[in-house]
Amino acid sequence: MNEQLAFTIEVFLNGLMAGVLYALVALGFVLIYKASGIFNYAQGVMALFAAMTLVGIQNGQVPFAHLINAIFGTDVHKFGWHIHSFLAIILTVFVMIALAWAVQRFVFRHLVGQEPIILFMATIGLAYFLEGIADLMWGSELKALNVCAAEGTCLPQGMNMWLEGTTYEAFGYGFFIDNLDIVASIIAVLLVGGLVMFAQYTKQGRAMRAVADDHQAALSVGVSLNFIWILVWSLAGFVALVAGIMWGAKSGVQFSLSLIALKALPVLMLGGFTSIPGAIVGGLIIGVGEKLFEFLIGAPFLGGATENWFAYMLALLFLVFRPQGLFGEKIIERV
């Protein structure tokens, strides 16, 4: 098999897996946008917050340690225990649900019926607030997110082996693929499948679609807007947690995690702001597109570093020729 072609396939596969992560972040945006018309700028920070909380809980860090020490003159930093990853993830899910409730209760409940731009500004505020709170709670240093934080706290035993990069033999050529990426992809597929089933077949899913479509009508068929909004923020928080774990396990939990939100924007332009499958396909196209473009055109002809702007250029083209995205709802207007 041709070496160049094999390498291209490898780049393609790696792009696919990067795309899965973009798709996950975009998914969080879509959920909230669909149900409440809020463009949640804080989605990326939510991923950061979730990942930091997970690491903090795993390592038995005392939340707000610096604040407590400064006020009471104590010197506590850790509880001195390690929590099993699985349990820590569940606890973090509860934290994200509490966050969803708080966001709804203290911010958006007071902004019902406001202009979209005002809601958007509120999410910018939320993003900076969350960032600050995350720092205050868990400290700002770079943390390693290990699914195995310490001996005996691994998810399934021997998970580490599964998460390291491995070379696979195929067609007489060795493909290098990160096992973490494969795990991430599988989880993402399960997550999306679950969400689609949820939206399609459950009472709450139906109510969610109803709220997304018309608030007044949703109220009249017995749907509590407040409950549905808390639900979608919780779901978005959960998706953020998954994205945070994937990204954090790859490159550590640090501030730059919140910037993946910006990568989700072109994904949304492609997939449409209201389509769950669109977020997935958009994410994959951007992931594969930027890697292949860099490999085939960028590096040889344009001096490289095209990954930074390729996604935005693609999004711009879409905005010009298909503003509702690949799967976005067509705007039907009766005159």
Binding site: M197, R206, A207, D214, V221, G222
Partner: protein, 272 residues
């Protein structure tokens, strides 16, 4: 007709049951404007109760008070024999009161069938996880809900458009779909806000027939708003007449028709 009797006999000879809903001295203000001034009336089981009046009389406000969209400053709403605490619209819906809107509030992105199925939301009980995987009880429940929805779609003769996205439908059909969604909840009280507004004669006749059939077939108690006197008189068993937020008449269509105050309001006698 006596006010406090357990039942009464209508002009066309049907016997109407006891009071299901009673409005007691309702006053609703928006800022300094009194939209509803100290109005009391009741709705009895199985009847078609109309609220009529000229534009701006406060009819829609009254309906919004019943369905929980507005909370009156004074007065009480009694439902099924007990005073109702101030409620959110979704709680009112859970109590079995369904409604339609004057300006149609449908889920435009969904098909007709999906719209009607949302009317079943208050009847869906299985847990989230069970429904996600659609097993056992959840599946039976889904099938049962679907049957009710299909029955109502048949009843209102909209089978042909069941898979059509609502946004593509003409106005008259949208009104009918909205009625179907409200009916799907199997309400004990159905509120219709100008079900015939903006319709041509033929569509009005269809809608009148459906309203009568619904009342007849399912025994649904219906309260409706309309400002077309002719239609209302034919449809309803009892009529409340409002003008400038006040109640100026209440009784059977014949009683109301001969009420001098009502005649003045409709013919436009100058107010003091």
């Amino acid at each position: 007709m006596k006010d406090n009797a357990d039942s009464y006999v209508t002009e066309d000879g049907r016997t109407i049951g006891p009071v299901v809903m009673e409005m007691k001295n309702i006053t609703l203000r928006f800022g300094g404007v009194e939209a509803i001034k100290d109005i009391s009336f009741d709705i009895r089981e199985g009847e078609i109760r109309a609220i009529i009046g000229p534009n701006g009389a406060g009819k829609s406000s009254m309906l919004n008070v019943i369905s929980g969209f507005y909370v009156p400053q004074e007065g009480q709403v009694w439902y099924q024999g007990a005073p109702r605490p101030p409620m959110k619209p979704y709680q009112v819906a859970e109590q079995g009161i369904a409604r339609t809107f004057q300006n149609i509030a449908l889920f435009e992105g969904m098909s007709v069938l999906d719209n009607v199925m949302t009317g079943r939301l208050t009847h869906m009980k299985s847990g989230m996880l069970a429904q996600t995987f659609w097993r056992g009880a959840a599946e039976r429940e889904e099938v049962a809900n679907r049957e009710v929805a299909e029955k109502i779609i048949d009843f209102l003769e909209i089978q042909a458009i069941r898979k059509t996205p609502v946004a593509r439908l003409p106005y008259g059909l949208k009104k009918r779909v909205e009625l179907a969604r409200a009916l799907a909840a199997e309400p004990s009280l159905l509120l219709l806000d100008e079900p015939m507004a903006g319709m041509n004669v033929e569509e009005k006749e269809d809608m009148s027939r459906f309203i009568l059939d619904v009342n007849d077939e399912f025994g649904t108690t219906i309260a409706l708003i309309e400002h077309d006197m002719g239609v209302v008189m034919d449809l309803s068993d009892r009529v409340v007449v409002m003008d400038y937020g006040k109640k100026i008449g209440d009784g059977t269509p014949n009683e109301v028709r001969n009420n001098q105050e009502v005649i003045d309001a409709y013919l436009g006698v100058a107010h003091d």
